[in-house]
Each structure stands twice: as C-alpha cells, then as structure tokens.
Symmetry: C2
C-alpha cells in the first residue's frame, strides 16, 4: 500500500450562494486546489466527488460526468461517492485508495452541495434517514438529534447550557474564518433564546443550509515534495457503518460507527486520542459535537458536556475542536463538509490557519458522519 | 498494486418486482454472492454499491448505511457509488481498488435499482443527462439516442433493419437466461412494427424499466484458490469521462469515453480486441450496441450495423455480444447493470452459462456507460 499525501486544498466561501451554480461552485474549488498544489488540471489523473443529493436539490445525477466536462478535464475518470453528510469523507477515502492502490498518482477528492435552490430542503435531507421507518413517519433530523440530546441529558446530566456552549465555541472560531458562512460570535444567551426547533434543540444548535464546495489534491507520499514544501500526510483513513434508523441502536447516546471508525484509524496510525492536536468533528447539531468528543475517545462517555463547559475544546484548550467554526459556523453543504474539514486540518498543519491557528499542532483528525451515524469516516493527518 | 480475483457472483431475477423492496433486493443479491463464494457475511470487509437514483425512485439516499444495516453487516464500511447507468461498473472498480490498495481483502461490489415504484421513471432517468442544457428542454434519453442513431444511419448507411437485428440477437440469447426480464425471442418484423418511441427508435430498440440487483465478491488474486477452484481474474479495470451533453461532442456517432476506457483497459491487460472471447456491451438502445462494438475496436467505425447483419455478434460468431441478453432482454436496473455484466462474464469464464455458453472463451469484457457516454467503465476478465 502506498502512503498518500495532500499537496493542495481549497474551499469556496460557504453560504447562500444564489449567484453561483452547482457546476461553477465545484469547478471553483477544483481550480483553487490545483493552484494551491501548483499543478495544472492536466496533471490530474482522476477525481472523486462527494455529494449527497444533487438529484433532489437540482435534479441532476451523473454529476461526475458534469464536473469532468464543465472543468474541461474529460476523459479522466470522475466518480461520485455518496453517504449522506459523510459523502465528502468517503470521497476523500476513495481518492486515497486510488493513490494507495497505484491506479492513479495525482487525484482530486472534492465535495459539493447546492442546497438553496429548493423551497424546502427538509424532504431531501430526510432521505439520509430510513425512509420507511423514519422519514415517512414525519421524523426529521432535528427531531432525531433532539431525542439523542434529551437522552444524553437524562443519562449524564448534560445541561442545556453545555449544548449552547458547543455552538458558542464554534462561532468564536468561525469568526476568525473568512470562508465561514457565519463569521461572527454568539453568546450562550442567544442560543438559549433562539427559536425552538425540536426540544431541546434551538435554531443556534443547528447547522445551517449551505451552498459550497471544497477540494484536496492527493499524490503518493514519496512524490509530495516535488509539488510542495509543506505536504501533509494521511496517517489513517477509516470508515464504518451503523444502523441507519435510530431505534435500532443499542444506545442512542453513542454513535457506534464513530467509535469503530476512530478505533480503526488510531490503529492504522499507531496513535491515540492524546496524540491528536486538533479535531474537526461533525456537529450537525450541538449534541453531535458532544457525542463526537466522547465517541472519538477524547473524554469518557457522558463527560462531553462538562468538557465543553470547562473549555477543553477551545483553540487553546486541551483538545481544540472545530478551529474552522465547524458545521455550525463554517456552514454545512452536506457533501462538501468532509472535504472542508480536511482542508482546515491541512491549513492547521501547515501553520496557515491565520488567527484561528492551533499552536504547535503536529497531528490532526477529521470526523464526518452521515445521517444519525449510519456512516462515519475518520481521518488522521500529520506533518 | 495487488492483483484482484472474483470468487463469487450473483444476480436476482430482473423484472417488475412489485413484491420485493429495494433493501430486500440488494440483500438477496449479497447473500447469493456470498453463498456462491462459499463465505459468510462476516468474512466481508467492505462493500461498494452502485445505484443511480434511489433518492428519486424511492426517496432514499444514504443507501450504503441502509444496506449494511439491513444485511446485518454493520460496522463494515459500505459506500455508494453513482455515475448514472455506469454506477455498477464504478462500484466494481471501487471494490477492485479497495482490494488492490491493500485496504481490504474480501470485498463485495454490488448494484441495485428499484425503478417500478414510481408512476413515471422518465424524469428520474433524465437526470443522467445535462439538466440545464438537455433535460429541462424536454430532451429524454430515447430522443438523445435517436439523434445518434439517425446520424449513424446518415453517415454510414446503417439500416433500420440492422438496428432491429441487434435487439433480435439480444433476445435470442436472453431466451436462454432464466434471470432475464424478457426471456423470449423476437423477430425483426416485431421490432420494426413495435410502437414508435423516438424516430427511428421503436419500443423493441429500447431497454426496459427494471427492478433488480447483482453482486460480485472480490479478493486478492493470490488468495482466490482458498475460496474457489474457478476464480476469475480482473485483467483490467478502466474508466473514462466524456461530455455529459450530446451537443458538446466532436462527433455524436462516437462515444469517446468508450474509446478511452477500452484503450486504457487493453493497455492494462496487454490485450487487444482480437483476444476478447465475448463482450457484454451497454445496449440501453440498439444503436448504442452498434456504437459499442465500433468504439471498443471490434469493427471499424461505421461497420457496426453490417457486423450485426452478418452475424458476427451471435453466440457462435466472431465476437459474441451480450450472451446474457444484454440490457434489452436481461433488463436494465440502472445501477445493477454493470455488476450483472460482470456476473455474466464470470459465469461464461467458469463454463457455467448453460445453454448460452460461449465455447472456448478465455477472456471476457464488460462495457458499462452512463448517460449518453458521460461515463464509461470497461473491464477485462480472464480465467
């Protein structure tokens, strides 16, 4: 198996981008990543694109062909990978395998979602849950995560304020990220007084509806220094599945796929939670950020809320979480999120993260999940 | 790069399967493939599933999680791959890379589509074309391929009867395939008198709307004989992209992605068209079967119609085409087709194809395309 490095990354501005189309968004991300890697489009040998549901958002499947075509890169292979909100993480892993296998040398892994071209994105997003047992019964993602939050509060004494503090930390970091959808700070009171969405989750516990794209460029580790003086190496790429429906879980306060994927990743890298200098977690809702820091092994199960309250997750804390602003403040264009997380970790490891730089970081992790944890992808990167 | 072998295959019955759900269909294919390989589900390390548009057909994305869950195989990684009607071919290629890379040893690559749970599948299928430049203007796939057929007739003198003969050959073979949707013979007159769909294409030039699933099980070539006495080896796995929209082609009678993917595959395998003992081509419409045998290099450009008329493509001809019955007679459950093609080629190479067996076959090829050729996947297999 060949080791793999990242030699270029990019992210478009995330937001409600009504004046830019799906095809232009992803092409912009690709061009910027190629420029960052100092390569030409013609140097690319293959592309993998994570996207959850262009079929439902813009009535366009077969986006891999569209993207190769619109970016002028035919006839290179282009493949769309989908696992709901973990689509980006799986596109990254597919690109890594393409390089690791020897099939291709220089590969682009990207993600894109255009969510604001529909009146209501909720039915499309709900297709990430079990249509027959959840969505058709009227359950939506805020309500699924609300049940997880309520149970976590009951089991472990997690407080409403601790959930709010996760969002506050995200916005504190996101305020320093010019590519974030909401680059401003918020306070605990604002979260607690925001519109109720699904009790106990309020509007400012929820990641937004976002348009955006991101891309990374991969090559064999042994070739990386031909392209850049600051390669970032893939130390581990792991993925796990879990039950798609929440009611089939042994415990709705643990996302088993996160546990499995992270343990596989730690084993691959020969590292443990204490080695991780910063992590981008999948906080589609504030409760999921708290579950993540528990399930990734940074704190004991049930201690996530307390850890947030004690400041462990701040940029200068014990385990900096979401220096980018996370899904809440950076935004959550579903298929792009897993790639945007990797881009952030590369910027951090290069020392290029500006005012949100985590000092002294040597190893970084990304955690990307689909649905309520039916899929999890965990990556570990190092300098 | 590790060489890869196929140790088990399966296909469900193809047809209008109103009494079996999406999740049961794909699970049936997986169980049968595991039985064919004489392994247990617990032996599988990862799964790749090709599916075009469950989001639009059954309002279900995140099918990878659903499938891992419903088949009782969590927490193994499961990934959905999509490239319209080439989704199956790309799921096969992704599984091959997963094994070739060393990430996984025993991997299932499958494909599934449930197309008959909607009133009209046409809008969903049309999302494989360029939504902004084709589908929104009212162009559908029969009309796109009709333009290609009309131009081929104009350029090369291909006749209406020759198109019909491609369907007749498919049905002659499909009549011998108990898993085919339409296992019966048809005559040229029936094709010529069938309902007009998009001039010059008539109903019996068109592949049907189909429910179905198929699966193959892959492992490192060096391990294959631990599982089976009749492994089939992957000699080449190639993929190419082309423009998604037909109007952007230099020539609408040539599918460049087929040309690129097949030339890459021949190079990988160190083989040429004369070495291929049988081929499963992507005849979503009869014209595409004729384009395929030209673009894959079996006959000169423009000679496809004549080759069909002269019987070169029959089971005992010079280059047997679609011994399974092809998309026309076996059926075309979009995401499953590329895998069903591979299953057929494995049966042929094992000598297990029953009455439709191609005698003396040593090397087989599959050709799977998405849209009008925005994606092409070509695989070469040998004993």
């Amino acid at each position: 198996m060949r080791d793999v490095a990242i030699i270029g990354v990019s992210q478009t501005k995330f937001g409600e981008l009504w004046d830019i189309s799906f095809r232009d968004l992803i092409t912009e991300a690709g061009i910027k990543a190629a420029a960052d890697a100092d390569i030409e489009g013609a140097d690319l040998e293959a592309m993998y694109v994570g996207n959850m549901t262009a079929g439902l958002f813009i009535q366009q499947e077969h986006i891999a062909s569209l993207i190769a075509d619109h970016s002028g890169l035919t006839p290179i292979p282009c493949t769309r990978v989908e696992a709901a909100c973990a689509s980006g993480g799986l596109a990254l892993r597919s690109g890594i395998m393409a390089v690791a296998s020897g099939y291709h040398d220089v590969v682009l892994s990207a993600g894109v979602e255009k969510m604001t071209d529909v009146v209501d994105p909720t039915p499309a997003i709900a297709t990430a849950s079990d249509q027959e047992w959840e969505a058709q019964q009227g359950v939506t993602f805020p309500s699924l995560y609300a049940m997880m939050a309520r149970r976590h509060m009951y089991e472990y004494g997690t407080t409403r304020e601790q959930l709010a503090m996760f969002s506050v930390n995200n916005h504190k970091n996101g305020a320093l990220n010019p590519l974030a959808q909401y680059p401003f700070e918020i306070g605990v009171d604002q979260v607690l007084n925001s519109t109720m969405v699904a009790d106990p989750l309020r509007l400012l516990d929820c990641s937004p509806v976002t348009d955006g794209a991101a891309a990374v460029i991969l090559c064999p580790a042994e070739d990386a220094r031909k392209y850049t003086d600051t390669p970032v190496y893939v130390k581990a790429s792991a993925q796990a599945s879990g039950t798609i429906a929440l009611h089939d879980r042994r415990d709705i306060t643990t996302i088993d796929s996160t546990v499995h994927a992270s343990r596989t990743a730690y084993d691959m890298a020969g590292l443990g939670p204490k080695d991780i200098g910063a992590v981008e977690v999948h906080d589609c809702f504030s409760i999921n950020g708290i579950l993540a820091i528990e399930d990734l092994g940074f704190v004991e199960k049930g201690q996530g809320g307390t850890a947030v309250e004690e400041g462990l997750i701040s940029i200068d804390g014990e385990i900096p979480v979401n220096p980018s602003g996370g899904l809440k403040a950076r935004g959550h264009p579903l298929g792009a999120t897993g790639i945007a997380q990797a881009a952030e970790m590369v910027w951090q490891l290069r020392g290029d993260a500006g005012k949100r730089q985590v000092e002294g970081i040597e190893i970084g992790m990304t955690h990307n999940i689909g649905g309520t944890g039916g899929t999890a992808a965990v990556h570990i990167f190092g300098r």
